[in-house]
């Protein structure tokens, strides 16, 4: 008698792979989406769209290690599509660099609410590479490849992103860091 096993096991294997992928990455994807778009419901939609698109193209995923950057790429594209339809408001800040000294004292470190508010205000061009680095675990070179930029430009954006966050949290116009102590 002809065995039907391999067909079912192939289908089940794909389904199992997707379930594992979803359970492993839904949280990271949600956090990334949330900080990218700034809205809970929209972030959940983005996660769902991302994973459903991943399901359709699951055969393109060859290595488990590549899953996270692959999913983040899909999510960014989904967000870009959404962004084209719904221009999300972002608050642009003055260019400038913040003083690092305020973060020397440990009592400021737990001020997560202020930092979150600052993240919401951070312009998209700084926020996205910062999220890819902090949440996506990517290096400057990987972020540059993802965003289609030069590594040097990404380094500058990351540097400025942190400086701007500090400036927003301080609620003051940042001073330019002219020299080193």
């Amino acid at each position: 008698m002809k065995r039907l096993g391999p067909v079912f096991s192939q289908v089940n294997s794909r389904q199992r792979q997707f379930e594992a992928l979803t359970r492993a990455h839904a949280g990271d994807l949600y956090r990334f989406a949330y900080w990218l778009c700034g809205q809970d419901a929209l972030a959940q939609d983005l996660v769902q769209e991302t994973l459903l698109r991943a399901w359709k193209n699951l055969d393109a995923l060859r290595e488990a290690e590549a899953a996270r950057p692959w999913l983040l790429t899909i999510l960014r594209r989904e967000h870009a599509r959404l962004h084209e339809r719904r221009r999300l408001d972002t608050t642009e800040l003055d260019e400038g660099l913040a003083e690092d000294a305020a973060w020397a004292s440990p009592e400021r470190h737990g001020d997560a609410a202020q930092l979150r508010e600052a993240m919401h205000k951070l312009p998209h061009k700084y926020r996205e590479p910062l999220l890819l680095q902090v949440l996506g675990g990517m290096s400057c070179e990987e972020i540059a490849a993802e965003l289609g930029q030069q590594p040097g430009a990404v380094m500058t954006q990351l540097f400025r992103a942190r400086q701007k966050l500090k400036a927003i949290v301080h609620g003051e116009r940042p001073e330019v860091q002219r020299g080193l102590p």
């Binding site: 459903l52 690092d100 973060w103 470190h109 993240m119 380094m155 942190r162």
Partner: protein, 251 residues
């Protein structure tokens, strides 16, 4: 600072890289940090900030997020399967309709075909097969004239029956010949062209349909004797198409 200056990364480069990648694993950065207390302090501050940043970004996850995604995926897969099933069923139904319709059309076409109608006509005049006395040329010629046709050659000598019959929509001259004593029914349909010559078998009758120059000849017999059909066909081809025309058509 003096030691730091001997490292591959100077203080300015260290601060620049620290601002971009505070948790970067570069050994040169580590070496500079170990050699420069000021930059080491800056690194400490940066680590505190990174710790705070990670904590701030770590927002609570919506409850049941993964399950909702999996449900949406499963529902989508089910819909896709259902859609595929519907398409397959639709195609199968369409195929059945086409085949059924084609079958009906074919049956109707067959029912209206001359061989079918000729066989169906036979019970009406089955008694004609019993006649054995050869006919004179005049009544046969009259029957052909009634169908606006004419004999162009000699009448087959063994013609024992003639009648003007309507076979379905076809206006025919109904004849019987007896080559070798066996009756062969002949139906000539003037002005009806048949594309090809063919034989058939239906309801116990053997038949042959033959295209002539100006009409169609159908022969029927309740015995399978090809020699009889050949002889009768040849005789009526000469009688209807004529000798001269037959030769020309044979060239």
């Amino acid at each position: 600072m003096a030691n730091a200056r001997r490292c591959s990364v100077d203080c300015l480069e260290f601060r620049r890289r620290l601002g971009a990648e505070p948790q970067g694993p570069d050994p040169a950065m580590r070496a500079h940090r170990e050699a420069c207390p000021t930059c080491a302090a800056a690194w400490e501050k940066a680590q505190h900030f990174e710790h705070a940043l990670h904590g701030a970004l770590d927002v609570a996850l919506p409850e049941g997020l993964a399950e909702r995604v999996l449900l949406a995926q499963a529902t989508g897969v089910r819909r896709q399967h259902a859609r595929r099933r519907h398409v397959a069923l639709g195609l199968a139904a369409s195929l059945l309709i086409v085949l059924g319709g084609g079958g009906i059309a074919w049956r109707q076409a067959q029912a209206r075909a001359l061989p079918t109608l000729a066989v169906a006509h036979m019970p009406e005049e089955i008694g004609s097969l019993q006649l054995t006395r050869p006919l004179a040329a005049a009544p046969v010629a009259a029957a052909f004239a009634a169908r606006h046709a004419a004999l162009r050659g000699p009448l087959p000598a063994d013609t024992t029956y003639v009648h003007v019959c309507d076979v379905g929509p076809f206006h025919t001259v109904h004849l019987v010949n007896r080559p070798d004593g066996q009756p062969v029914v002949v139906l000539y349909v003037p002005a009806r062209q048949t594309a090809t010559r063919r034989t058939f078998q239906r309801d116990g009758w053997f038949g042959r349909e033959v295209p002539l120059r100006h009409g169609t000849l159908v022969m029927l017999a309740n015995h399978k004797d090809r020699g009889s059909f050949d002889a009768v066909e040849q005789a009526w081809r000469v009688a209807i198409d004529g000798l001269g025309e037959r030769r020309i058509s044979e060239l």
